[in-house]
Subunit: 505 residues, 2 copies
């Protein structure tokens, strides 16, 4: 088996090289969103296109393909074990990459770099027409990508994009998962809207000085387990987390003096992503065992820390007095009970990243619907604002006043991330299942949180989820970790359990 | 000539690709110095080594060599013109690169990345022994590099390194330039030390709030012509300027509340570098016509804005009242005359980057002496602190209290920049010659500065120096721009002219 060992070692080395090169692009991408002066956009687009092209060149090298082919017919030890998983995922990545010409990869990189800069300005200035030419290019390129990759019987072009972020997922499968969640969400939302309870939301829009927000957010992030020796928190127009590789993971958020939840829960959310990145097996860098399982699983981690932990009573039993000390003007005279009600206010609102836990998934479903139409060609990019506003009014009963709180609110389309949105709602579903399993295994978590103890949950997640890398698919991981199949019911039960008492339902 | 045109276009495209890849490394290097969490060092070293190796691979491609060879025998238009210069410098870069094995290039990149991180800690903790293993590795690698590149008849290994930063320069040539400057410096310094004048230096160590320093420094930088639409100013352990490419140039400085000149003149200095980078012909990116002439010429630009402009009376005629408004506690009751005397205080001091204009060059000559000895093997890295302190005491009559104000003060050796230091003193010499020529051509500059007008100097530098790229060598550029040969005399005249009156000599 020595020949196999040698070949496997060469495979790992080649995969690491691709990952290392891609991680250089991550640094440049992070810089683009955080510190790059506006004049640098055109040069940055050229830099990123070159790196993307070179990484693609390495990832599609025929020798790599041959090596994978040889290893597939050899004994890699335990079926489904780490080696087998790495070879299986190397095949998957190779096959996908070889569908795409280098020209297309470079062009997508170049266009999306410029497009993200254009989006920042267009969003600020509520100017969709200025963004439209970029959106048209991005959609055309992603349609070309989808066509090059293809999709299975009975599928649709969007599946090709979706599968990149959530391996194995198809549009119709997502439809099947989302439908009962939508029905339960609408029912719960109706009940809440019929309630007489009026959460004191004015608490959240008092004066929260920016420096104090930053300090308080970082302290919370550290408390739940994000390491600032191996990471940072900066400001960006759209919050994100970028793991560069072992020992370096960057979070961003955005601050508004008169909106406490935006930066704080944004920081908790990105910290959840960061804790995942920092929890990956660093020895396995570059292979499937050293990356996240899927974006849905990634999102399950951020949503868990943001919502299941961060918006829960036990968390604030521990932290509320510190919040009062950090924001004496806003919270000094407040009670924890009123604060809890305010941060769990449920109501239709325009901005996804600031949405409550109940309406959040409706935001996702709307994007899923529009993206599918953009990719199958039935929706013209020029018609996006109208389609957005119509669908939004239908689902939420309110209409965006302008495109900055409508179709321009998210960075994703400018960044070419079509097919990504559904993973957010899948993440909520996964998170609920994982949280129940964690509580069963190492709980009661509520008692630990109330004492400021978050380490056992973090370690459980490290062991049960992060360290498994991409060894299995997301739905398989849910089964392995929880012993149950994928189901929206734990999420619905969580929502009913949290909001029923708050709204006297 | 169409075949030549085609080949030339291919050459430019290949050179641009190398430069683009190198510029990705610049972004990662800048991030390493400014924002990278300490845990990211090992991964960053791998990233930078890969990029350096890939750039080296492209830069040494045999097809590139063949292309240069073909073009050398063809008609490139005007001899010494832009095309001829680009091919000449492409040859120079290719020949140098092909002397070096990729392994060595990658290893230097990897080791110097880790070494810079170790240096930051060692400097802070005044712990030379902790840094020594890195210095040993760096010196060994640079000696290997020097041996691989070689040097001319009667030369020495150090020449191979020097030539990289200052094309055409040799150690003995530098000796010849430095000797008379040293003699004149010692004479002037003796006269100043014999003067009864005592500049009121306490002015500079009062309280200068950090935010106000940052704002005042950025305003001054903008005033002299650095564009913040195409650049930034951040904080780093050792100030530097990094031009990433067209439209993006980053400056750094470091702040000390009780030392005004450090950050301010550091910012002026780096702004001078930045104005050069921003003044390069962006159409020529990647070719010799689109890069700086030499590091000595680069330094001439930073030293000109820092000293010839920034420490001169006319600059402060315009700016002193703004400084008083920015720092009311420190300067509100001060006169411009006393402030001028303080910022032009001359006295032997430990830190090069904060040295006065007279002693500055002695700092350089000391480093030049030690570096030559490290590279020819006559000085062991372990003996650097002793050798440094002996030479320092000999030249300055004072002895560093610890290595953080001695041999650990500069980042250069940790970054592998051996052969770089002499360009600083050469820069002072060039700067004096250029400043005289500019004053003759577009002056009197002093009157313009007194009115806050710096645009005509900037435009003259853009035209006469920046836009010429690397069309000719540094000493040739001096002749072209000033009409005179290289000479230390204008610098000595400047120093006598500035410090004679201040010290009643």
């Amino acid at each position: 088996m020595s020949g196999t060992d040698d070949r496997y070692a060469v495979l790992v080395e080649r995969l690491r090289k691709v990952a290392l090169l891609e991680s250089c692009g991550s640094v440049l991408g992070w810089d683009e969103q955080t510190y790059m002066p506006s004049g640098g956009a055109a040069h940055r687009a050229e830099q990123l296109a070159l790196l993307a092209g070179m990484a693609h060149h390495e990832a599609t090298d025929r020798e790599l393909g041959d090596l994978i082919g040889e290893l597939e017919s050899e004994d890699l030890g335990e079926p489904g074990g780490p080696r087998a998983a790495n070879v299986r995922e190397a095949r998957r990545a190779y096959d996908r990459a070889t569908c795409l010409p280098r020209r297309l990869v470079e062009e997508i990189s170049r266009v999306t770099t410029l497009s993200q800069q254009a989006w920042v300005t267009a969003r600020r200035e509520k100017d969709f027409p200025a963004f439209l030419p970029f959106l048209e290019q991005v959609v055309a390129l992603k349609r070309e990508e989808a066509a090059a990759i293809g999709f299975g019987d009975g599928g649709e072009p969007y599946d090709a994009l979706l599968d990149h972020y959530e391996p194995g997922a198809t549009s119709s499968w997502v439809d099947g998962v989302f439908s009962p969640l939508r029905a339960a969400t609408v029912e719960l939302l109706d009940a809440i809207r019929g309630s007489q309870v009026q959460p004191p939301v004015d608490i959240l829009t008092r004066s929260y000085p920016l420096d104090a927000q930053r300090e308080f957010g970082m302290a919370a992030s550290k408390r739940i387990g994000f390491s600032f020796e191996e990471g940072r928190l900066d400001v960006a127009a759209h919050p994100f987390c970028s793991g560069f590789g072992p020992g370096d993971c960057r979070l961003t958020t955005r601050y508004d003096e008169h909106h406490f939840p935006g930066a704080f829960f944004g920081t908790m959310h990105e910290s959840g992503h960061g804790i995942y990145e920092q929890g990956l097996d660093r020895q396995a860098f570059g292979t499937a065992m050293g990356v996240s399982c899927s974006l849905g699983i990634h999102e399950s981690q951020s949503r868990m820390w943001e919502n299941f932990v961060g918006r829960g009573e036990p968390f604030w039993i521990h932290l509320f007095s510190e919040a009062q000390a950090a924001f004496p003007e806003a919270l000094g005279q407040e009670t924890r009970e009123r604060f809890m009600a305010a941060i769990n206010d449920v109501r239709p609102s325009m901005i996804r990243v600031e949405a409550d836990e109940v309406t959040y998934n409706l935001h996702i479903m709307l994007r899923f619907e529009l993206e599918r139409a953009l990719i199958d060609g039935s929706l013209d990019p020029a018609d996006v604002p109208g389609a957005w506003n119509d669908a939004f009014t239908r689902d939420f009963g309110i209409t965006p006043a302008d495109d900055s709180e409508g179709c321009l609110q998210d960075i994703h389309w400018s960044a070419g991330l079509l097919g990504y949105f559904p993973t957010y709602a899948l993440g909520n579903i996964y998170a609920a299942q994982f949280f129940v399993a964690a509580d069963r295994a190492i709980g009661p978590l509520s008692e630990q949180f109330a004492e400021g103890e978050f380490g056992s949950l973090k370690e459980w997640l490290n062991r049960e989820i992060h360290q498994r890398g991409r060894q299995c698919r997301a739905d398989e991981l849910v089964e392995v970790v929880t012993g149950d199949g994928l189901s929206h019911e734990p999420l619905v039960a969580h929502l009913r359990g949290r909001f029923g008492p708050l709204y006297d339902l």
